[in-house]
Amino acid sequence: MGEIEELQKKAKEIRKHIIKMLGEAGSGHPGGSLSAADIVTTLYFHELRLDPSRPDWPDRDRFVLSKGHAAPVLYAALAERGFFPVEELMTLRKLGSRLQGHPDMRKLPGVEMSTGSLGQGLAAANGMALAGRLDQRDYRVYVMLGDGELDEGMVWEAAMAAAHYQLDHVVAFVDHNGFQIDGPITEVMSPEPVADKWRAFGWHVININGHDFKQILDALAEAKTVKGKPTMIVAETIKGKGVSFMENQVNWHGVAPKPDEVQRALAELG
């Protein structure tokens, strides 16, 4: 099997985990977990330099899920990558679980930064990147933001700082799925034109289809060649991608599937 087929297969497993965990939890965020699944899969199964047996290895690459409500996609990838047993995914959002409703770095190995309050992840990623530079370590820092999250002023403070400090080992994604909670981003509070804004803030910007593994891989490779600037990959995605009745449906932002919906979704995913 070629790498892209492997990634496709893995992404399908991850989507199935997302559906099952959310069904079991009875609450949580499917839409933005599914839209980010192909990128997160590529990060954990192609890009990131990691050792699941040493989650605090100083030279590891870091991934910060700034849109922390998409925790299920992160947990599924971490479990599949061997950071903790896959069965533990079913404890999501339950009392005593290491899989908190939003990622908690103090509870779950592999989580690099506690997130959930939108807007804060890029700053933390920048801090990690500055520390790596001071320590002369060559790790890279990846971060994923939501397109609704771009409404937060702090995102732009951090965007300015990453360019100012020439953090070319920071690679950010915007999961450009077009929706936030109250509706389409262009109706609620438009962050458009997204790519132009990041370019104006001094970033190297790449536009891709966030469900096309070849484009994701190429963008990650291109980011490694960029010097003196952070890279922003604006990924066009479909909220709820992979489950037909969830796709582009704003109502599936933060509602868990019921048992029959879980069955239908899993049947579709195959």
Binding site: R106, Q120, A124, N126, G127, E157, A158
Partner: protein, 313 residues
């Protein structure tokens, strides 16, 4: 007690010294380095100093990432912005994660002076001490400040250090040992205990002398660590003297007075009077004028003592 040094000056010096000794210490500022006194650190260790511009939220968030990657970041701005503008970043990226971030918050309280109420933080102790995992230091003088900076670096977790703009007398000798979480008994009393923090410690000592002339024997407890607060010392003093006055350059709601009231009500209820900024914002004026106007002079402490002892059983 003749020499006067602002605690922010002492902070800058202590940070510089710490930077020499510990290469993991980094400093961040938000375009106020000359005021918060991180400037010298930046001049000496430019590669370990990050000016984040006028962006306090991003300063705190970046510090969280630096700490997560093993650094010991000291972030500085005015107290109003470090604790207020960036409150939720401090809450979620620093306290909730319990990362090793230190916040050196200068120009606290009304002695910020002429800049006025927009800049005078009257609430920062309250909103920092309510955060789980957060240690809160309010040093009274330059010596306590140096101790607080050292102690902060030694603690593995978030620390808030509240600093002042104006020069204040140096209380302690160089041999003073700063012990986090331990109140300092500056005067033993019999009739009342004045529990003070920050710049009000000196005012409390002056009040003791005035009270002595009136035949009232007041003790002074210096609380440089608001959290974790020294409950034992507070309760012992209350048991011994039977009445307490608190004194702080902060709102009487939620700060030292609030913390002492919580401790006393649970463990040793005695008459209590809180000297502090009434439930209102600051305004422009000289520090001395403002201390007088807002009721933070030795004379106000004396009046509070005279009132509280009438309520003793």
């Amino acid at each position: 007690m003749s020499k006067k040094i602002a605690t922010r000056e002492a902070y800058g010096e202590a940070l510089l010294q710490l930077g020499r000794e510990n290469l993991d210490v980094v400093a961040l500022d938000a375009d106020l380095a000359k005021s918060t006194k991180t400037y010298d650190f930046g001049q000496n260790f430019p590669e370990r100093f990050f000016d984040m511009g006028v962006a306090e939220q991003n300063m705190i968030g970046t510090a969280a990432g630096l700490a997560a990657a093993g650094k010991i970041p000291f972030c500085s701005s005015f107290a109003i912005f470090a604790s207020g503008r960036a409150f939720e970043q401090v809450r979620n990226s620093v306290a909730y994660t319990s990362v090793n971030v230190k916040i050196g918050a200068s120009h606290a309280g009304i002695t910020v002076g002429e800049d006025g109420g927009s800049h005078a933080s009257v609430e920062d102790i309250a909103i920092m001490r309510v955060l789980p995992n957060m240690t809160v230091f309010v040093p009274a003088d330059a010596v306590e400040t140096a101790g607080a900076v050292r102690a902060a670096a030694a603690i593995n977790g978030p620390v808030y250090i509240r600093l002042g703009r104006s020069a204040v007398p140096v209380l302690h000798g160089e041999d003073f040992q700063f012990e986090p979480g331990k109140a300092v008994v500056l005067r033993e009393g019999l009739d009342v205990t004045i529990i003070a923090t920050g710049i009000m410690v000196v005012a409390a000592l002056e009040a003791v002398d005035q009270l002595e002339a009136k035949g009232i024997r007041a003790g002074v407890l210096d609380i440089h660590t608001i959290k974790p607060i020294d409950v034992d010392a507070i309760v012992n003093a209350a048991r011994k003297t039977g009445a307490v006055v608190t004194a702080e350059e902060h709102s009487i709601i939620g700060g030292l007075g609030g913390a002492v009231a919580e401790a006393l009500v649970e463990h040793c209820p005695v008459p209590l009077k809180r000297v502090g900024i009434p439930d209102q914002f600051g305004e422009s004026g000289t520090p001395a004028e403002l201390l007088e106007k807002f009721g933070l002079t030795p004379g106000h402490i004396v009046a509070a003592v005279e009132e509280v002892i009438t309520r003793k059983a």
